[in-house]
């Protein structure tokens, strides 16, 4: 992420690097484990739960931002918010993603999104909003842990933070209030879209991973992948 003056996402880079270094959820106990199947299911269920939670959170937050952000046909051009992880992907590319890449993209996306959400939380005006956001962040952290668990079970390494992220930043000119709200709008939109995409991603993974009986064999094959 490059730190552009006035880009609020850049200002959160410090926080993001801190989060990257948080210890990942320890790998599933390999002895007698039923394979990654149940944890993929659990991750899928978590994305559904989060999507449901986000619906009410986003509604409340957009109302707090006020019009035009809370209008249903608000359709602004996508300007700024360059560093937000985008869920959109070419159809054929998405189909042909291998499991490792699919999981990695999900993990990286939610790591960034969680970071930005925490930034949002710090700026939120009302206590109730802060509470809802904090609750959501906790759930999102749970999703991250769940994805990490699946990756560990399949023998994939967790992604490392990108080189070049600076621990210090130079505060740029003040971000206009409207532009800040636009950034918030796109964050919530991208989060919602990622949750829909993840449901489809984990559906695909579910179908590809064999039922528990054959999980051990597959697990060994995956390790040699």
């Amino acid at each position: 992420m490059d730190l552009r003056a006035g880009d609020s996402w850049g200002l959160l880079a410090c926080l993001c690097t801190v989060l990257w270094h948080l210890p990942a959820v320890p790998a599933l106990n390999r002895t007698g484990d039923p394979g990654p199947g149940p944890s993929i299911q659990k991750t899928y269920d978590l994305t559904r739960y989060l999507e449901h939670q986000l619906r009410s959170l986003a509604g409340t937050y957009l109302n707090y931002l006020g019009p035009p952000f809370n209008e249903p046909d608000f359709n602004p051009p996508r300007l700024g918010a360059e560093t937000l992880p985008r869920a959109t992907v070419n159809l054929d590319v998405w189909r042909s993603l291998n499991d490792k890449l699919r999981l990695t993209q999900n993990y990286e996306a939610y790591s960034h999104l969680l970071c930005y959400l925490r930034g949002l939380n710090r700026q939120a005006a009302t206590a109730e909003l802060r509470r809802s956001l904090a609750h959501f962040c906790t759930s999102l952290q749970g999703l991250l842990g769940s994805i990490a668990g699946v990756m560990a079970a399949l023998g994939y390494p967790l992604p490392h933070p990108l080189p070049g992220t600076e621990p210090t930043w130079a505060p740029g000119p003040a971000h206009s209030d409207f532009l800040q709200k636009m950034d918030d709008f796109w964050l919530l939109k991208e989060l919602q879209t990622w949750l829909w995409r993840s449901a489809k991603d984990f559906n695909r993974l579910k179908k590809k991973i064999q039922p528990p009986a054959a999980a051990v064999t597959l697990h060994l094959e995956a390790r040699g992948f």
Partner: protein, 372 residues
């Protein structure tokens, strides 16, 4: 001499044909096409004729009364659809055709109704449109699809003229799609547009081949099977969930069951002996809306056939008094005792064993008494 007469005839015929041809293919041979608004008034001039020229007007070959004339011009007031037709004005004396007007009475288009739907997610979506009220004259439609600032191609449907198809290039987009349509005809112009997110327009086609069958020896069960709609391209990665509704024909209230996977379900609370109507709907597991209801399947649960005339009258509605409706006569029971000994039929509850035991005991007692 016979020969000159036929030749003369031919010559006359040829001349007549030439005259007719000249008349029909006069300078005004192609009628002037004119569109006028329903309910309006119109004055049709007889081509370039003077106002005071003596002309006769005809519509579709029928003479028109002269009271409609204003000089050589035809005046039509309060146009109705029936006024549409071919108007021709002739020189009154020579019957020379001066001018022809093909009049179409119609209306300018009202705002079109446009809707888009994806029944082939993630392949693409289609948009269809129609006018809320007819215009009675030809209309042309022009559809444009924008994804953010990118223009997308909407391919015309080969069969339906009010539909076109768009293919998704990218999935999981946060940018909305905007579909605009403009309609125009000779009398006016109108347009509308709709904006939507990729996920909101997902609506599968209804499930196919819904079949309901009775389950043998189960008077309260019906087995329902169906197939995912053939238009849904990838049920593996984009699984569907289903909603089943059923009711006996004699009742109005539906029972509902939601099923997260599988394409079969057994109804276990059907009213015995009543014909049921069953329908299924489908939805993507996470996004979009439910499909329309499928074509209805009909079935009646299994009922036992009456075996003997002496058997008690069947009372299929009274499922509480099982003994009377399900217990066959004792003579049959002895023949089936072997089956019961080895585990019995699934529909044979415990009370059968009492008459069987008694019968067996009676038979054994009789046999032993005979032997002694």
């Amino acid at each position: 001499m016979a020969a000159p007469v036929p030749w003369a005839c031919c010559a006359v015929l040829a001349a007549a044909a030439a005259v007719v041809y000249a008349q029909r293919h006069s300078p005004q041979e192609t009628p002037h096409v004119q569109y006028e608004r329903l309910g309006s008034d119109v004055t049709l001039p007889c081509g370039t004729a003077n106002w005071d020229a003596a002309v006769t007007w005809r519509v579709n070959g029928t003479d028109l009364a002269s009271d409609l004339l204003n000089g050589s011009q035809l005046v039509l007031r309060g146009l109705e659809l029936g006024h549409s037709g071919l108007y021709a004005c002739f020189h009154r004396d020579s019957w020379h055709l001066r001018h022809q007007i093909l009049l179409h009475v119609g209306l300018p288009p009202r705002e079109p109704v446009l809707s888009c739907r994806s029944n082939t997610y993630p392949k693409g979506f289609y948009c269809s449109w129609h006018l809320p009220t007819p215009t009675y004259i030809p209309n042309t439609f022009n559809v444009t699809v924008l994804h953010g600032s990118k223009v997308m191609v909407c391919e015309k449907d080969p069969a339906l003229k009010n539909r076109c198809h768009i293919r998704y290039m990218h999935l999981f987009s946060t940018i909305k799609y905007k579909v605009s349509i403009s309609v125009s005809n000779a009398l006016g112009h109108n347009a509308t547009a709709i904006t939507f997110d990729e996920f909101t327009i997902v609506k599968p086609d209804p499930p196919e081949n819904v079949v309901a069958r009775p389950v043998p020896s189960n008077p309260r069960r019906l087995e329902v099977t169906w197939q995912t709609p053939s238009t849904w391209p990838d049920p593996e990665s984009f699984p569907l969930k289903f909603f089943l509704r059923y009711r006996p024909l004699i009742l109005d209230q539906w029972q509902h069951v939601e099923l997260s996977d599988g394409t079969a379900h057994t109804i276990t609370d059907a009213y015995a002996g009543k014909e049921y109507i069953i329908q299924v709907a489908a939805k993507d597991n996470e996004i979009g809306t439910w499909s329309d209801w499928s074509v209805a399947a009909h079935a009646t649960p299994w009922t036992e056939e009456p075996r003997h005339l002496t058997t008690e009258a069947q009372a299929p509605e009274t499922t509480t008094s099982t003994t009377s409706s399900l217990a066959p006569p004792p003579t049959t029971k002895i023949c089936d005792s072997g089956e019961l000994g080895s585990g019995g039929r699934p529909s044979a509850p415990h009370f059968f064993s009492v008459p069987v035991a008694l019968a067996l005991a009676a038979a054994a007692a009789t046999a032993s008494s005979l032997l002694i």
